[in-house]
Symmetry: C2
């Protein structure tokens, strides 16, 4: 497939034209056929587990030889359980409600024209991702179920694993009578192909980068195609003076420590000076083996607290570290969040409903929470099924993005011969 005389632009144009044709077919296919394709793909993943594991072993060997970090090796590694998990994930996407065809709203105009907005597929979606090869299955399933064709471009470290998983997905799609070009894998790990994909506005309607900050930054910088990007999660939990101490303690420890490496984890805890149990809260974090970096007041609470620097208030640790600051009530908390948050997920803990509603209204983040752990910031926890990502942009889709975010709408106008005066 990878003709060395081709330029990256020619390669992407070839894949893109195939994807456009496939997208037209997928858009007209029944929902049952798409769900069937995904169920068959899940079965193919299970059936081909030995081949997928063998491919993954080759990737792991190369990766070890290339000195990849243990964390990256862990993300790259597949085993029976992870393949079973990927297959189950594909089946779960097949079981979600059909996101297409629903009528968003309808109006009948005084002249009798009936206007409806109806959900339709976005078209062709490009996914650019790193290391974790199960994205090949997840992302393909979500795009396909929403009626789109997808062009996948995985990392070079996972190329064998991605090819094997892609082959299983295509087997299921073809068995259901849909075109194999609905899910294409860029057949080269040449970085120039990424550049060409990012500029292929003629063929690609949306790019979703899935990976670390440097990948997302490069995609945002280079892309001429719209990008659904996920930047930092510098999230706050604000403990109001009227918070219940037991609830505050359990929420803050969970929000920070349940899993420290996910984008929904709390990175800064703001405590109202009027909150009576600040010392116990800080101690609970320390006892949970969290490093606490505090302002002077927080440092005075426990000798284990380290002094926070200015940078700490703008840092996404993704680790067992938290910055803690005392504030004068909800207004100062909102002002701090306005300046320092990445506007991903911010929470208030309080028993005062009026204060809570003020916070929920005034904090301009994708997700605002009252008396809940910021770790719930997740498409699955939101009941959306699998997510393609959490958008930190403001257009099209905000927060967890699942099937609906991979659709758009069209206007259908039904008349009886009306001409415009």
């Amino acid at each position: 497939m990878n003709d060395l005389t081709q330029t990256p632009e020619m390669l992407i144009a070839t894949l893109g034209a195939r994807a456009r044709r496939a997208a037209s077919i997928i858009a007209q296919a029944s929902d049952a056929q798409k769900a069937d394709a995904l169920r068959r793909a899940a079965q193919a993943l299970r059936d081909q587990a030995p081949a997928i594991l063998a491919a993954n072993a080759r990737d792991m060997e190369n990766a070890a030889a290339n000195g990849l970090s243990p964390a990256m090796l862990d993300r790259l590694k597949l085993d029976e359980d992870r393949i079973a998990g990927a297959a189950a994930g594909v089946e779960q996407v097949a079981s979600l409600d059909n996101p297409l065809g629903s009528v968003i709203d309808t109006v009948v105009r005084p002249n009798g024209l009936e206007l409806s907005r109806v959900r339709v597929p976005l078209g062709v979606i490009g996914i650019i991702y790193e290391s974790r090869p199960n994205v090949t299955a997840d992302a393909a399933a979500l795009c396909l179920r929403a009626g789109n064709a997808v062009i996948l471009r995985g990392g070079s470290e996972a190329k064998e694993s991605n090819r094997a998983i892609h082959a299983a997905m295509v087997e299921g799609i073809v068995a259901a009578g849909l075109p194999s070009e609905a899910v294409q894998l860029v057949p080269t790990t040449d970085r120039a192909a990424v550049g060409a994909l990012l500029k292929a506005a003629e063929f690609v309607d949306l790019i979703v980068p899935r990976g670390g900050k440097s990948l997302v930054a490069r995609v945002q910088e280079e892309a001429r195609v719209p990008v659904l990007a996920h930047l930092d999660g510098i999230n706050h939990s604000y403990v109001d003076g009227a918070a219940d101490p037991a609830m505050a303690q359990s929420l803050v420890v969970n929000a920070k420590m349940r899993r420290t490496g996910i984008c929904g984890s709390t990175e800064t805890v703001l405590i109202d000076r009027a909150y009576p149990s600040a010392g116990a809260l800080v101690q609970a974090l320390l006892d949970a083996k969290c490093e606490v970096r505090g302002d002077e007041a927080v440092q005075a609470m426990d000798a284990r607290v380290i002094a926070a620097s200015d940078e700490d208030w703008d840092t996404e640790y993704l680790d067992a570290i938290v910055s803690v600051r005392l504030v004068d009530g909800v207004e100062e908390a909102i002002a701090h969040i306005d300046v320092h948050a990445s506007h991903h997920t911010d929470a208030i803990i309080t028993d005062d409903a009026a204060v809570a509603e003020h916070f929920l209204n005034a904090v301009d983040s994708a997700i605002v929470m009252w008396n809940a752990s910021t770790q719930f910031a997740d498409g699955g926890e939101f009941g959306l099924g699998a997510e393609i990502g959490i958008s930190t942009g403001r257009l099209h889709a905000r927060g967890p993005v699942a099937l609906e975010g991979l659709t758009t709408y069209k206007w259908i106008v039904r008349g009886t011969g009306q001409t415009r005066p």
Copy 2:
């Protein structure tokens, strides 16, 4: 205001930071206060009509000296009626339903978490426009009513008119107790300021270009900020074999000839070979003083028909010219539209409901119509009130974009102390 030692980037950063602060205030202001600001702005436009007309006269004088075309001079010119129209337009935006605060959907999860998506402002919007100075009032009104701050950058030919209209808008906004920085006009017509605005992703959430193709193309090429763009309207009216001839004739003539210069006008008519009155239809277009460029079959219908070239099928005339082709039924019509349409607005005329529904489903355009004139492609005709533009992109908003398209949503999560297991 225009310090010559400033770089364009510094200027835009200054305006942008002010706009961000104003956006926070506007977002929290009541809807009544925003509507009041617009009503006061409308009154200020009327009160300041003499100053606005004097400013416009200076622009017209310069424009004539610079040799602007008559069409551009007409777009630039203001008179009492046009100012009254702009004021009435601002009042109409004030009278629309509040687009903010409405709950898009709510779900209660098994763990008791209540999740709602609620409409909130987009933030800061940049408008880049040419000649028509009333855009200064229209665009400011729409952005403000949707809770956003706006940075306006009008054309150099209209700078005096734009300043005078901007001053009136700001007078109304300040009189209502809102910050003047909610509506800012870039105080220089230096083109480099446009470049800086297009790259100011830190300060601007959305750019809306309003003008000709070259302006939109430049904005799309240079922007690092998301763009709500309006490209061509290469629109089709397909006359099916089962169309009522009287209806078909009245719709096609209206769709093409009512106003030929608007983006919703039909540029190509596709006629089913099974349609019995094709000759009369072509003659009606010719009799309406429309130049007809046809394929061979159409040329045979009337000596006045000119031969269509390959380019005609991909041309947006915006003039009293139409391309006409015979096709073999709805499938060939859909295939032609798929290749040649700009996917703006395409219509079918037929009495066969099944054929119509197939067309509405299969044609992937922002607006698809059955038995209606494509000239209805307009936010006002759709009941949206004034429109900021018609989006030919697929993300965020498609087709006519009015207040709702200038908003986004946030997720509000209400809990009772839930931690994530």
